[in-house]
């Protein structure tokens, strides 16, 4: 019936059930270095099911189900089953988490201090976090930064990085090919390959850090740096958070404390070398 997979990533344990073995094999490979859920009890359950009995066998079509579901979620093809699992896991956290303030942001850490990067899909925040993770920073996650309201600390959620389109070739210049998962061509999000994070990032996935700098990167424009005022940062982060309103007053306080506590810059960059240089420059300019 259901083939099962489970994994602990940062503070969340997941259980994935699938009607097919393909996605489970892919998950087993991608998460081979990760521990299993604490106590053997996952936080969230995800199910990959055929949209109908027939579509289990004929042109298999994967419906994304689980503890939390979107009524209008579009099914994917079985070839993209791994992507479906990844999206479903993200969805559980986005809709279900109530302790941490979730920011749709990538994060990396150095000396106990955290660099947060947020932006639209295609801004390069994922790729930048993955690159920095290969260059002396600790990779903390490319999808969600978890801010603990009571302490203001950022906690890691170091999932495999979902690299899209040109980012795959870019990343292959910096990491061994055996850390990249199967190619998934023509997904709704473009061509995708997943990158396993450095083992160190997984080993230290329980260690938090103090946010120190927030960047709004934009790829594809000529080099530019612009400070972003707290009011604008606040509004942009409310939009970048999936659970800001659900947290009520705790969310508001967490976000105002974060915004008032750290500087924020928008950076435009034409290529990764420029971006890395900009990050170095801004980071070393911090007090």
């Amino acid at each position: 019936m259901m083939r099962a997979f489970s994994v602990q990533v940062g503070p969340f344990g997941f259980r994935v059930g699938s009607a097919w073995s393909g996605p489970i094999r892919a998950l087993d490979w991608l998460y081979a270095e990760y521990p299993k859920p604490v106590d053997g009890i996952p936080d969230f359950t995800v199910r990959l099911e055929p949209v109908s009995t027939l579509r289990r066998w004929v042109r298999p079509s994967v419906a994304i189900r689980g503890d939390f579901m979107l009524p209008d979620a579009v099914p994917t093809s079985l070839a993209h089953g791994l992507l479906a699992a990844e999206m479903a896991m993200n969805l559980q956290v986005a809709m279900g988490e109530r302790r941490f303030l979730l920011l749709h942001a990538s994060s990396v850490e150095r000396d106990g201090r955290v660099l947060l990067m947020t932006g639209e899909s295609g801004s390069g925040k994922s790729t930048l976090s993955a690159l920095l993770g290969e260059k002396g920073w600790r990779f903390m996650g490319d999808e969600f930064a978890l801010i603990e309201p009571e302490t203001g600390l950022a906690f890691p959620f170091p999932r495999p990085v979902s690299l899209k389109n040109a980012a795959v070739a870019e990343m292959l210049r910096h990491v061994a090919a055996d850390r990249l998962g199967p190619e998934m061509l023509g997904t709704p999000k473009g061509d995708i390959r997943h990158l396993k994070p450095p083992v160190e990032a997984i080993r230290r996935m329980g260690e938090s850090g103090k946010p120190a700098l927030l960047l709004f990167p934009r790829f594809g424009l000529s080099r530019d740096v612009r400070p972003v005022p707290p009011s604008e940062v606040f509004v942009r982060l409310t939009q970048a958070s999936t659970n800001y309103t659900m947290l009520g007053e705790r969310g508001f306080e967490a976000l105002t404390n974060l915004v008032q506590g750290i500087p924020a810059c928008a950076i435009d960059y034409p290529d990764t070398e420029t971006a890395l240089a900009l990050v170095d420059e801004l980071w070393s300019g911090l007090a």
């Binding site: 359950t45 689980g66 503890d67 109530r98 302790r99 659900m246």
Partner: protein
């Protein structure tokens, strides 16, 4: 035990959780989430020793229920303000009523829509006042709109444009096409004032409404939670002198005794609710089908017993309308390519 029984078993007596192994915890939490009973379970298990991860999952559910509670009560207050100029008190139904009255059934309960009861002759006024206060029609077609107005017990649903919350304005507690016809005037006449411009049905009517909502108005989706509401109310109200007699008399008055009787038997069977034996013995057979349907969920949170579910789906239409009308309704829906929600 590949159904929701494990959840019912622990809800009825939380100390049993100490016996659970990890895979049983996983199944129970998943089922509770799917049945919208996780917040309730969290309240039942509060203060008990549970595994660390389970505690985290339950904490999340507790927070979610608290947010829900605040929003639900705020919606009630907004409705009160909108209807106050009409001299219409806000008579709360279902979840919001349980919360506002501080009842056991409200503890940890999620509340989706705001349901209120208004005298039928004041429906037009109420609708106009709500539209003026920022609620607006959910987009739907003329057939649905006319169907609601001619045959249902409520206005077509309204959503508030700023807060995105839905309100259902009822004038009675069953569709006009259903076989049973509760006495709507009596529901309103015997309402209990909460003292803040809000009121609820009297205890017996609250039970009866929950029972009819479960058995006489739908396909038993989310039925386990409805039955849990009934369990909580029966336990809470039974402490008052003469409750069972009043419930029997009231059930007869509304001509819904068979439904109430069945609810008592099922609550007793599934949640071990202490019930009045005389009232519980008024119904017909077939409880096994109901039990099977109410518990039809496996440890992965999936719907099970597909055929039984479909049978209850058919039944929900059958009991809601006379045959000719049902045929016409289904034909119209089929022509428009309607798919039943599974």
């Amino acid at each position: 035990m590949n159904d929701a029984r494990i959840l019912a078993w622990v809800l009825a007596d939380p100390s049993r959780a100490a016996q659970l192994r990890p895979h049983q915890w996983t199944a129970m939490l998943t089922i509770a989430q799917a049945e919208r009973l996780l917040g309730t379970l969290a309240h039942r298990l509060a203060g008990l020793d549970v595994p660390e991860t389970a505690a985290r999952v339950l904490d999340r559910a507790r927070r979610a229920a608290e947010t829900d509670r605040r929003q639900a009560l705020w919606e009630a207050e907004m409705a009160r303000q909108a209807l106050a100029p009409l001299g219409l008190p806000v008579l709360l139904l279902k979840g919001t009523a349980y919360l506002a009255a501080g009842m056991d059934a409200g503890r940890g309960r999620l509340v989706g829509d705001l349901d209120i009861l208004v005298p039928r002759e004041r429906m037009d006024d109420a609708e106009a006042a709500l539209l003026a206060a920022g609620w607006e029609w959910v987009k739907q077609d003329d057939y649905d709109d006319a169907y609601y107005r001619d045959h249902m017990h409520e206005l077509p649903p309204l959503i508030h444009k700023a807060r995105d919350r839905m309100i259902d304005v009822h004038h009675t507690i069953l569709p006009l096409t259903a076989r049973a016809r509760p006495n709507a005037a009596a529901l309103i006449a015997d309402a209990v004032d909460l003292g803040n411009g809000l009121s609820t049905l009297c205890p017996e009517d609250m039970v009866i409404h929950a029972v009819l909502h479960l058995f006489a108005d739908g396909d038993l989706s989310g039925g386990l939670r409805n039955l849990w509401d009934i369990d909580r109310m029966l336990r809470e109200f039974a402490e008052r002198d003469g409750f069972w007699d009043r419930l029997l008399a009231r059930s007869r008055h509304h001509k819904v005794t068979v439904y109430v009787s069945r609810a008592l038997r099922l609550a007793h069977h599934i949640f071990e609710t202490p019930v009045d034996r005389y009232l519980a013995w008024q119904g017909r057979r077939g409880d096994l089908f109901y039990t099977g349907r109410l518990l039809a969920r496996n440890g992965w949170g999936q719907d099970t017993a597909k055929l039984l579910r479909f049978a209850f789906y058919l039944r929900s239409h059958w009991i809601r309308m006379p045959p000719l009308m049902l045929a016409r309704h289904l034909f119209t829906k089929w022509r428009k390519g309607h798919q039943p929600i599974r």
